[in-house]
């Protein structure tokens, strides 16, 4: 089954090649040579074609019982080691010889992504970004940032469905303006009522919906947006040196998520055009999508995980823009001290101000 995996090797020294985010070329970490993607692509075209068949289930994994269908077993073409992966795994490393491994079959035929957004930010920059992420956070436990070590760092190409389309909006609102005037001892409050109608359309371009079930949507949405001008035609070569998964959320199931994002944004944007009123209530809304398009793309994400106090912390960084997200632990003791000191000091200040104002009132009273 070794033919299902392709290792890209340096033509000069046969060491593993990987895609370099700095140069945008294939780089050999051993001899430092750089190669154009097209050059390596041409060299490995035949091997990729041969490995593009449907990934097969290794008979020996059947002993895994019901999990067998979700597992794939490959042999590393460099060292012959047996590699067990999830059925969606498309790229990674051989843990024995360190060679980069790519499974072309995961991205061939109907499974081939339309585009890929290559990594622009490297591993070192991701590590530095995590350290910066710790900075300036008062309630972060000191030991977390000083003694914490990155447990794992992975550059992953995450599969996404990119939805484009025109949302047609037809909304009506009931809006009011209020005013008041005096007539002797009476206050007259006047409320003007308006029927407000907005019809139009709004275009969306490549709204991403995470197509990997195991990747938390919260995490992938938090590192948006990506700059799509760097999208390029898919090639297996970009995967060399990174992890990659093919989608496991079918397009049909992702459509709902994409449409929901279309609609909520279209409603908010339409509502923004109704201004100058004291209160606005939506009376009716009718939305539809036309000219819908969907593309399959792989987008770059650095995943960093750390462990502290027996708990795992997962961070994600946009592999193109460098935007880093990830929830950090709270120093509960420090938070309590902060709470009580602010409570006591602010209450005391307020009490002094209150006492002063009462004093002034009493003095003014006489």
């Amino acid at each position: 089954m070794s033919e299902q995996i392709v290792n890209y090797k340096c033509p000069s020294c046969t060491a593993p090649l990987r895609f370099s985010e700095d140069s945008g070329k294939m780089e050999c970490d051993f001899c430092g040579n750089l190669y154009e993607l097209d050059e390596i692509k041409e060299m490995y075209a035949a091997k990729e074609a041969a490995a593009s068949g449907e990934p097969s289930v290794d008979a020996s994994v059947e002993e895994w019982g019901e999990n067998a269908e979700k597992m794939r077993a490959y042999n590393c073409p460099s060292c012959g080691a047996r590699l067990l992966c999830e059925e969606t795994t498309a790229g990674g490393h051989c843990p024995y010889c360190g060679n980069t491994t790519v499974v072309p079959a995961q991205f061939s035929g109907a499974l081939k992504p339309d585009w890929i957004l290559p990594f622009k930010i490297g591993k070192k920059a991701a590590e530095d970004a995590l350290k910066r992420h710790y900075g300036g956070k008062f309630l972060l436990p000191k030991v977390f940032s000083s003694e914490n070590h990155i447990k794992e760092i992975r550059g992953v190409y995450v599969p996404f469905w990119l939805f484009s389309g025109k949302v047609n909006v037809d909304m009506s609102f009931h809006a009011i303006k209020t005013g008041s005037r005096r007539e002797g001892d009476y206050r007259i409050e006047e409320t003007s009522h308006y029927d407000v109608v907005r019809r139009g359309n709004i275009m969306f371009d490549k709204v991403p919906v995470d197509a990997s079930v195991k990747m938390p949507d919260k995490l992938t949405r938090s590192i948006e947006p990506y700059n799509y001008s760097d999208l390029t035609d898919f090639s297996n070569l970009y995967l060399a040196g990174f992890m990659a998964d093919r989608y496991d959320l079918p397009r049909e199931e992702a459509v709902g998520k994409g449409t929901s994002r279309f609609y909520s944004t279209a409603i908010a944007k339409t509502r923004e055009t109704v201004s100058g009123y004291k209160r606005v209530n939506v009376q009716s809304k009718n939305l539809s999508v036309s000219d819908r398009e969907c593309h399959y793309a792989l987008l770059p994400v650095w995943l960093l995980s750390t462990e502290w106090n027996g708990k795992n912390y997962l961070f994600a960084m946009n592999g193109q823009t460098g935007k880093m997200v990830g929830n950090l632990p709270v120093d509960e003791k420090k938070a309590e001290v902060l709470f009580w000191s602010v409570l006591i000091s602010s209450s005391a200040v307020l009490a002094v101000l209150l006492a002063e104002s009462i004093g002034r009132v009493i003095l003014g009273f006489f």
Partner: protein, 261 residues
């Protein structure tokens, strides 16, 4: 027959005198010159006012007039109160100690007027406090209830004043100052919670983003039809009189606080 007619005329005369006479006897503590209350209710209120007055040695009065203009040309409720107090020769003792509530029906205004010891028993704070006992009832058209509350509250406050602790705001301000302490603590709690939340939120950067504004192409929303059509107007009329805080002491030593109901 002539005797019967004489008796009838005397009764009519007596009733008219009781209800509308601008010159009252010293025993008249409640005068309804606007005919807002039945005679028997006026009598009840009158005897109650008389009882309180005798108890605290300070006259407690209520005078209802149809309109301010009938008493004071300028329509000043405080000037009208002073004029009424003098016209009826209200007050007890040499310094004419007394407390009077004047109500102008068509103007919907009131004045609480004090003279002599009445002014010591009721400073402006006390008068304001007293006014709260009847303004709401009068505003709702419950004249008898309002006047009953006025008598009850003024009796209580006068007794306190006689005991040496008038309701003058000093004690209550201290009390309200003490009542302010929990407010300070609650506000402090809110500030502390917000501060903690601010610093805690720095540690949370993962959120489920529903918005897709980053992916809107072109100039955003393109409106093909847009209109804002006025349909109708609704109005609500609320009685909200501008309250006159206080009237200064006049040359007779009387002071007043007035407002609307």
């Amino acid at each position: 027959m002539k005797k019967k007619l004489d008796i009838f005329l005397m009764v009519i005369f007596a009733v008219c005198l009781f209800v509308t006479s601008p010159v009252s006897a010293a025993s008249d503590f409640v005068l309804d010159n606007a005919g807002m209350l039945p005679v028997e209710k006026v009598a009840v209120l009158n005897s109650r006012a008389e009882r309180i007055s005798a108890e605290v040695h300070c006259g407690v009065y209520i005078v209802i007039i149809p309109s301010l203009k009938s008493v004071d040309e300028s329509g000043d409720i405080n000037a009208a109160a002073r004029a009424v107090y003098d016209d009826y020769d209200f007050g007890m003792g040499e310094t004419r100690d007394g407390l009077m509530l004047l109500l102008a029906v068509s103007d919907r205004k009131y004045s609480i007027y004090t003279r002599g010891w009445g002014g010591s028993a009721f400073n402006n704070y006390g008068k304001k406090k007293l006014s709260k006992s009847f303004v709401k009832a009068l505003g709702g058209g419950k004249w008898y209830d309002g006047m009953e509350s006025y008598l009850e509250k003024s009796g209580r406050m006068l007794r306190k004043a006689r005991d040496g602790s008038p309701v003058d705001g000093k004690n209550s301000r201290t009390a309200s100052g003490l009542a302010g302490l929990p407010v300070c603590i609650i506000l402090g709690f809110l500030i502390a919670s917000m501060t903690k939340k601010h610093f805690t939120s720095q540690l949370k950067s993962v959120a489920f983003k529903k918005d897709a504004s980053d992916f809107i192409s072109g100039t955003g929303i393109e409106l093909t039809e847009k209109y804002d059509r006025f349909t109708h107007m609704t109005t609500e009329r609320k009685y909200d009189p501008v309250e006159k805080k206080s009237g200064g002491a006049d040359d007779s030593g009387g002071t007043s606080v007035s407002g609307g109901f």
